[in-house]
């Protein structure tokens, strides 16, 4: 058994779990944050992407014990004060979802992608960077559109703020 303590969506949490407990299990089962999904069980599909210390990671490929002391953001923690994050809003506005199961992972990957590229994204980059996230419904068209729209909006907002 391991005792883990971490900050999840701004809240300090701790709990006991098996050494082999995956972070995704800890998030879903111990914390009840079920917006993070398990799709393929094998670290390929990206439905379980969360942010650990600001970087996107597949929470099915990391142990809860490894996340001890870290700061975690899940899809539930993205919206601030009831306002959707610009990436969330863009996925909704651009029909970047169908069954919705991959959506939380897609959104979390997109937020990190936009951050790393400082909003300067082109279509080829988005497509290449999305290779770790599988969607079976949309054909990715509207997902890519949503990410580009969000990146444009966020970098526009940043330019305006500067």
């Amino acid at each position: 058994m391991a005792k883990v303590t971490m900050t999840v969506n701004g809240r300090q949490v701790s709990g006991h779990c098996d050494d082999r407990t995956l972070l995704v299990q800890f998030i879903r089962e111990n914390l009840g944050l079920t917006g993070t999904h398990v799709g393929c069980d094998t670290s390929q599909c990206g439905a379980c992407v969360i942010h650990m210390d600001g970087k996107s990671v597949k929470s099915c490929s990391i142990l809860a014990a490894q996340a001890d002391g870290s700061t975690i953001t899940t899809i539930e923690g993205l919206a601030a004060d009831g306002e959707l994050h610009p990436v969330q809003a863009a996925f909704k506005a651009n029909h970047g979802l169908q069954c919705g199961f991959c959506t939380p992972g897609m959104v979390m990957t997109a937020v990190d992608m936009i951050r790393r590229h400082q909003g300067q994204l082109d279509e080829a980059t988005v497509r290449a960077e999305l290779e770790g996230n599988i969607c079976r419904c949309t054909g990715y068209h509207n997902i890519v559109k949503a990410i580009l729209a969000a990146a444009a909006e966020m970098s526009g907002a940043r330019v305006a703020a500067e």
């Binding site: 879903r28 009840g32 944050l33 079920t34 917006g35 993070t36 999904h37 398990v38 799709g39 393929c40 069980d41 094998t42 390929q44 599909c45 439905a47 899940t74 899809i75 539930e76 993205l78 919206a79 959707l84 969330q88 809003a89 996925f91 909704k92 506005a93 029909h95 979802l97 169908q98 069954c99 919705g100 199961f101 991959c102 959506t103 939380p104 959104v107 988005v126 497509r127 290449a128 999305l130 290779e131 996230n133 599988i134 969607c135 079976r136 419904c137 949309t138 054909g139 990715y140 068209h141 509207n142 997902i143 890519v144």
Partner: protein, 779 residues
């Protein structure tokens, strides 16, 4: 009396580009899937124990290590099933939940472990010791035929004209064969069921199922209780694609049996690898064809046999192989034709429904025949397509004797040819190929005609339940299930339009057998056609009562009562909808109705191979251009243009999304998605690490998708729309044909490339090598 000015129109009515009703929940992680439902204290978890042999007698099973494993509550075998140990949807009694003495495929369920956690159940299941005596097994469809394996269900024959006379008349006769691979659904949310025991014989099952009524009936049969004791609920699925039409049943049944036995809630969710090994997929096909045609390329006679790898049981293989035959003509008139199905048993998982339901395999076979003719007469395959389209005197009868009455393929093709600049680009491709030795290009423009309706006539019915509450808010429930396609949104738009209230006044509630009974699977693209009509019918019943009431109360004629945007106009008065509803309630008007719909005009006699199985057809076309590296067989899709017919779209944004997604899924089926069984009969492509569905980077570099906005369904469907789920899947065929052309270029387009599907880089490379060798031989 309030006098309100009406606004122009409601928000979110039909034909609007309304967003998915759960969109805000999906992006914020609050949309609840079955695995997200809070588990009551004491919830147990079931895990299936699967066969490790493809075909074998079970000599003994030792559960000692399983039972003593940590957290295990018990083991379920066939002996624990109170009712029937069978979930055959074809009612053939060939599909046990747990086998007893003989396994028929690698991955077949033998038992289930119930434990305090999913992890404990899964670990325990792996500890079983089973002694097998191996029997000879067959996984391949041709090997099954050679080994005289039986058919899983009666085959179908479609015949029209005089096949012998057709071949006698034909100047050219050609024979060939083709293999078409299967496909795993890879719904992102895997199979899952969660059963909660109730009083007496009752049980409530949350199941990720496209067919709640069948799941209900199966659970009842397995428990040995009447259907009224079982309620099946599903709010949404994380994808279905046909993979949860019958394949959800076993998980629901096992969860229900365990829940009743242990009197605890029980959840069953297989691991992805087990999900892919133990549940059915798209059927692989082998097509044997003989063609007669004239020197122009006009078809005189077609004789083809479609053999399918059905797996160990019938499941839906009958209607799937039937639908393959129904679509082997695609858009083409065959003057003399004989099409036969051969649904063969194999020692593989029982294949099942998958978007298109056999139709895509039939259509790929039909397009291969067109390609054969094109290379034989030395013409652009598109010319051969146009030459053989339905249309003109005496050229509208399908092989199943239904007359094509709504043919718009000519216009679709013409518009796409122009917008995609097909002719000029084909010339450019040929010129490019002359100049380049390593990279070769190909381009193809292919049509789609897809028949809409369940071929089993009785499935073409639907129900809906609409309540208007006294505050004017509306509760909508119908028999269709939501799996991402936007059905809930579309049906709500229909009801909003009927009552002329804003869409946000309507709440669509989870599909449940307790509200709308005896529903059909949400399948065959029929969801909005059937449920939209049933919901409209329910709304119309309530409206009729309200109109009658208003006419009496206000002393006006019924024609002077009208539902206008968020208001009701009664003579010269105008009331808000809410206010009017309150008054109607006060007058004791019933504000709830159960709606019903059955598709008119359709009939089908399978024994005679005649009838009108389809209410109408949906059409579309796509044009794809590819580049192939002839040294490695690797390729990329450079551009795809699509024009697709959805009639008068109920929601153009959702429909466009369906078309884009279907195309990519169809392209995946025909290119990278390869199912592979080893010599022991094990599926080796049972995870996304080895089974390659398209990624964001695989999509065409340029991708232009349009709906045929001028199209109106000539039949009286819901607001003259057309079904959209399956037809665009077959737009992916243009990619296969474009790859085929690129391969053909190495032999100067003189030899039919006969590229089988999926056209993996390996298969493309082999086709290129074969064509080069043949060209050298030909000189």
């Amino acid at each position: 009396m309030n006098v309100m000015q009406p606004i122009d129109r409601i928000r979110g009515g039909v034909h609007e580009k309304e967003r998915h009703e759960s969109g805000h929940k999906h992006v914020s992680g609050t949309a609840e899937y079955i695995d997200d439902i809070p588990e009551p204290q004491g919830t147990l978890h079931g895990y299936l124990g699967l066969s490790q042999r493809a075909h074998a007698e079970i000599l003994s099973i030792d559960f000692e290590a399983v039972s003593s494993s940590e957290g295990v509550i018990g083991v379920l075998t066939a002996a624990d099933i109170p009712g029937e140990n069978d979930i055959s949807p074809a009612h053939k009694h060939d599909e046990p939940i747990f086998v007893t003495d003989k396994v028929e495929f690698h991955g077949q369920p033998i038992f289930a472990v119930v434990a305090t956690s999913r992890e404990a159940a899964r670990r325990a299941a792996a500890k079983v010791k089973i002694e097998y005596r191996d029997l000879p097994h067959v996984t391949d469809v041709l090997e099954a035929a050679a080994a005289n394996y039986p058919l899983v269900i009666d085959p179908l024959k479609l015949e029209r004209g005089d096949i012998e006379a057709g071949f006698a008349k034909a100047k050219n006769i050609l024979e060939g064969e083709m293999r078409i691979g299967g496909q795993d659904h890879f719904y992102l949310e895997g199979q899952i069921s969660f059963a909660i025991p109730g009083e007496d014989d009752e049980v409530l099952v949350y199941s990720s199922t496209q067919h709640p009524s069948e799941t209900q009936h199966m659970v009842a049969t397995v428990l040995g209780v009447p259907s009224n004791a079982v309620t099946v609920n599903v709010r949404r699925m994380g994808g279905g694609f046909g993979g949860k039409e019958t394949q959800a049943n076993i998980f629901a049944a096992v969860a229900a049996v365990a829940a009743k036995k242990y009197r605890c809630p029980v959840k069953v969710r297989p691991d992805r690898d087990d999900d892919m090994s133990a549940t059915g997929k798209r059927h692989d096909f082998h097509v044997d064809y003989k063609l007669g045609f004239d020197d122009e390329g006009r078809i005189e006679a077609v004789d083809a046999v479609f053999s399918a790898r059905c797996g160990y049981s019938a499941d839906l293989s009958g209607p799937v192989t039937d639908r393959a035959l129904f679509h082997a003509d695609n858009c083409y008139f065959y003057p003399n034709v004989r099409l036969r199905s051969r649904p063969l048993k194999t020692n593989t998982v029982s294949n099942t429904a998958f978007r298109g339901f056999g139709g895509p395999q039939g259509m790929v076979g039909g397009e291969r025949m067109i390609e054969e003719i094109a290379y034989a007469v030395g013409k652009d395959p598109l010319e051969i397509r146009k030459l053989n389209f339905y249309g003109g005197e005496g050229r509208n009868l399908t092989p199943y004797h239904q007359t094509v009455e709504d043919n718009i393929i000519g216009r679709i093709i013409e518009e796409l040819e122009t917008s995609a600049d097909y002719a000029k680009r084909r010339e450019a491709v040929i010129a490019f190929n002359r100049e380049n030795n390593v990279v070769k290009r190909g381009i193809a423009l292919t049509p789609v005609k897809f028949g809409i309706s369940f071929t089993k006539t009785e499935y073409n019915q639907a129900g809906a339940l609409v309540h208007v509450y006294t505050d004017g808010s509306i509760h909508l429930n119908h028999g269709g299930t939501e799996m991402g396609q936007g059905l809930y949104t579309k049906v709500a738009q229909v009801v909003a339009d009927e009552f002329q209230v804003d869409l946000d006044r309507i709440k669509v509630t989870a599909t449940t057998t307790g509200k709308v009974p005896n529903t059909s699977a949400t399948a065959a693209s029929s969801g909005s056609d059937l449920n939209g009509m049933a919901a409209a019918n329910a709304a119309q019943q309530i409206k009729a009562r309200l109109v009658k009431f208003a006419a009496e109360r206000w002393n006006v004629s019924e024609t002077d009562v009208a539902f206008e945007p968020n208001t009701v106009r009664i003579g010269v008065d105008r009331l808000s909808f809410n206010e009017f509803i309150k008054i109607a309630y006060g007058a004791r008007i019933q504000l709830s109705a159960a709606g019903f719909y059955k598709t008119p005009k359709i009939h089908w006699n399978r024994a005679e191979g005649r009838g009108r199985p389809f209410f109408y057809y949906a059409y579309g076309a796509s044009c794809s251009e590819v580049s192939v590296d002839t040294l490695t067989g690797e390729y990329q899709v450079d551009r795809t243009d699509i024009l697709h017919d959805v009639g008068r779209s109920l929601n153009p944004a959702l429909d466009l999304g369906q078309v884009e997604g279907a195309f990519i899924q169809g392209m995946g089926w025909l290119t990278t998605e390869e199912l592979w069984w080893d010599a022991k009969g094990r599926l080796r492509t049972h995870a996304p690490s080895t089974y390659k569905i398209p990624l964001a980077s695989d999509r065409p570099r340029v991708f232009n998708t349009r709906l045929a906005e001028w199209s109106v369904n000539r039949e009286e469907t819901i607001r003259r729309s057309k079904a959209v789920g399956e037809p665009p899947f077959m737009l992916g065929i243009s990619v296969l044909e474009a790859l085929s052309m690129a391969a053909a270029s190495v032999a100067e387009y003189r030899i039919a490339p006969r590229l089988d599907a999926p056209a993996t880089p390996e298969r493309v490379l082999m086709a290129i090598e074969r064509l080069r060798a043949a060209a050298r031989q030909k000189g």
